[in-house]
Symmetry: C2
Subunit: 393 residues, 2 copies
Amino acid sequence: MPGIRGPSDYSQEPPRHPCLAINSKEPFNAEPPRQVLVSSYVTPVEFFYKRNHGPIPVVDDVERYSISVTGLIDNPKQLFMKDIRNLPKYNVTATLQCAGNRRTAMSKTKTVKGVGWDVCALGNAVWGGAKLVDVLELVGIPKLTSATWSGGKHVEFISIDKCKEENGGPYKASIALSQATNPAADVLLAYEMNGEPLNRDHGYPLRVVVPGVIGARSVKWLDSINIIAEECQGFFMQKDYKMFPPSVNWDNIKWSTRRPLMDFPVQSAICSLEDVTIVKHGKITVKGYAVSGGGRGIERVDVSIDGGKTWVEASRYQKTGTPYNPDDESSDRWAWVIFEATADIPTSTEIVAKAVDTAANVQPENVESIWNLRGVLNTSWHRVQFRIGKSNM
Amino acid sequence: MPGIRGPSDYSQEPPRHPCLAINSKEPFNAEPPRQVLVSSYVTPVEFFYKRNHGPIPVVDDVERYSISVTGLIDNPKQLFMKDIRNLPKYNVTATLQCAGNRRTAMSKTKTVKGVGWDVCALGNAVWGGAKLVDVLELVGIPKLTSATWSGGKHVEFISIDKCKEENGGPYKASIALSQATNPAADVLLAYEMNGEPLNRDHGYPLRVVVPGVIGARSVKWLDSINIIAEECQGFFMQKDYKMFPPSVNWDNIKWSTRRPLMDFPVQSAICSLEDVTIVKHGKITVKGYAVSGGGRGIERVDVSIDGGKTWVEASRYQKTGTPYNPDDESSDRWAWVIFEATADIPTSTEIVAKAVDTAANVQPENVESIWNLRGVLNTSWHRVQFRIGKSNM
C-alpha cells in the first residue's frame, strides 16, 4: 500500500514516556506505574500500556491509506479513511486489558512463558470511530448476522505490522460475525483515542476496538477485514492466548483442544501500594481498579486487611469523582471502575482486594488453581504485602 | 379473567412425582435426587425442580386465556393464545436454575434465610414458544430497542398467581427492554416444555423463559406484560434475590444498595455421589453438571481427588452421549453440560469439582467468601465427602 511502511527493524519507534516500566524493548511492551494508573478514570495516552508484537508501522500518507473488506461476501470493497469518517461516529469508553496482565505474579507459583507484566497491563480510554456493524453494512452484511450467504461466520482483522517471523506474518485475529454485526457489542474501527487521533503506538491511523474482550483481538494498524468460515488460524488465535488447566505443560499441550480467549473474567488490583511500600501507623487509603469482560459491570469491590477473614466494601468511582451508579444511562459498561477504601493499618501486613461482577462472578482466591503455562488471566485475589514504619508514601 | 382461577389455598395442587425431595410443601418447592438429575441431558418434566411462591393457578379454558401488553407504549394489546401461536415458533434448550440452588450447604457456614435446597434446584429443558421480541413487535416496539418513545426501559412480567400476602400480590419481575428486544437473547413466551404443553407446575398455559438468568425472572402463568420506566418494584426484585457481601446482616441491610440478580455465575456440582455414599476401593466415576449464565458456555470441568492439589479434566457431554463441541452450530449456549470423570479412589475421602466458563470465570474455592444472608448463588467448589468400604452404590 502506498505511504505505508511496516518497518522490519526498530529504527523508527515513536517516543514514549520515560516513567513507563519496560517489560520488553523490541517489540516494545511497557506499562505505567501503579499510582499513575489509578490517578485518572480515563488513562492518558502516554500512560496507556503498550503491547506490540513487532516494530511500529509508519503511515505517512493517511489520505492514501485504505483497508480492504473481502472474503465470503458478495461485494468486496476498498475503504479509505474518508469512507470510515463518513459513517456515524461513536465514542465508546472501554478498558482494554492484556490477557497477560499480572503474569509476573503467576510465575511465583511456577514459571510461565510470556512477557512479564505487573498489574498495569490495562487502560481505560474513550475510543472514537465508526461501528464495525456500519462498516459491514457497506459491504452488504446486515445487522445481527451469524452467517453470510456464502458461509462467512467470522470476521478476521489483519494488521499492517511485521510480526516476528515465528508468528506467521502480520498480526491477525478474528471475532464471531454475530458479535461484529451486533450494534450493542460496540465493536469499533477507531481513529481516535481520548479525543485525539490515534498515536502510532496505539494503531494510527485505524484500529479495531473489541470492548470487553482481551486486548489481543483489538488489532492495531488495520490493513484488511476478511469474512471467513472458520475462526482465524493465526498464531495468536490458535497457539497463544488460550487458557489451559494447571496440569498441562509444554510436553503434553494440545493447542486445538481449547478455544481462543475472548471475554475476560472479573479482575481487580490495588494500585496505591507496592509490595515494598512502608506505611505509617494509622489509617491507610487503598485505591485500585476493577473491571469485568463481556459488558458485565462491577457489582462491588471488597478489601480485607486480615488476609480475607473480614472484608469492607470499597467505594467505587466511575467518571473521576463520580460515585458509580449502575442505573445511570451513561454508565460505561465496557469500562473499569476506580475503587477506594480507607482502613486502619492492620496488625497483619497484607491487604487483599477482590471484585464481584454483575453476573456475581468472583475472582479466585488463589493463583494456584488458575495457574497456566502461558500465564494468562491471572485474576486471583490481589494481595499486597507492605511494612509498617516511617512512611515512604 | 374468565376460566382462570388463582386459588388462594393449596386444595388444587397438581400431582407430583413421589421421588422428589420436598423442601417446602406450601408453596410447593421440591428437587429431584442427584443421580436422577444427571441421568439425562434434557430433564424430564416430572424431575424438573419445582419452585413456587403460592398455590398453582388453574386455567380451565385456554381459548379464553389472554395476556395484556400495556404500559409505556402507543398501542396496548390483548393477546390470546392463538396470537402467540401464530408467531414463529422457536425451541430453545435452556437450563433454569434457582438462585437458591445449594443454599443448604451455605447455611453450614452461618444460617441463611430461604428455602433449603441441595444441589438440584435446576433443570435443562427444551422450551417451545414465541420470541418475546416478536411479541413486542406486535405492539410496535422494534428489535434492539433500549427505550420506547414514551420512556419505557424495562419489561415487567406479572403472573396470575396469588403469592403470599407479604410479597405484595401476584408474582412479578422485569428484565431490561434491550434484552427483551434482542433476538439473540432468546427470551421466550413458552407454551411447551420438552415438546409437550407446559404442565401446571411449570406455568401452564404460558410462561416467560429468560435464558442464562436466575429462574426467578422466568415468570410462570403469565397474566400481563407491562412496559415501564424503572425496573419492577415487586418484592422478589427489590427485597429478595439480591446478593449482599458477607458483612451485611438483617440489622444493617439496605436493599436499595444492590441490583436484582440477573445472569448467574459459573456453577457445577457432582451428582453421582452423596455425602453419605460408601464406595469400594478401585475406580470411581464422578458425574455432574456444569452451567454458566449469560450465554457463556462451559470451557472445562476439573475434578480433584486430593482436595484441590491436583486436578483431572472431566469429559463433557451435551446432548446425551455426544461429546461437547463448542464450535457446533447446534451448541446450546443456554444449556448445561453433563460431565464425567473416572478417578482412582483416593486416600482422602473428598472429591471436588469446579468449572470454568468461556469467559474464564471460575467458581470460588470456599463458600465463606461468598456467604450472604439470603443464601443465593452458592457456586463454591462442590465437595463431596464419602466413605470407603463395602459399596452402597
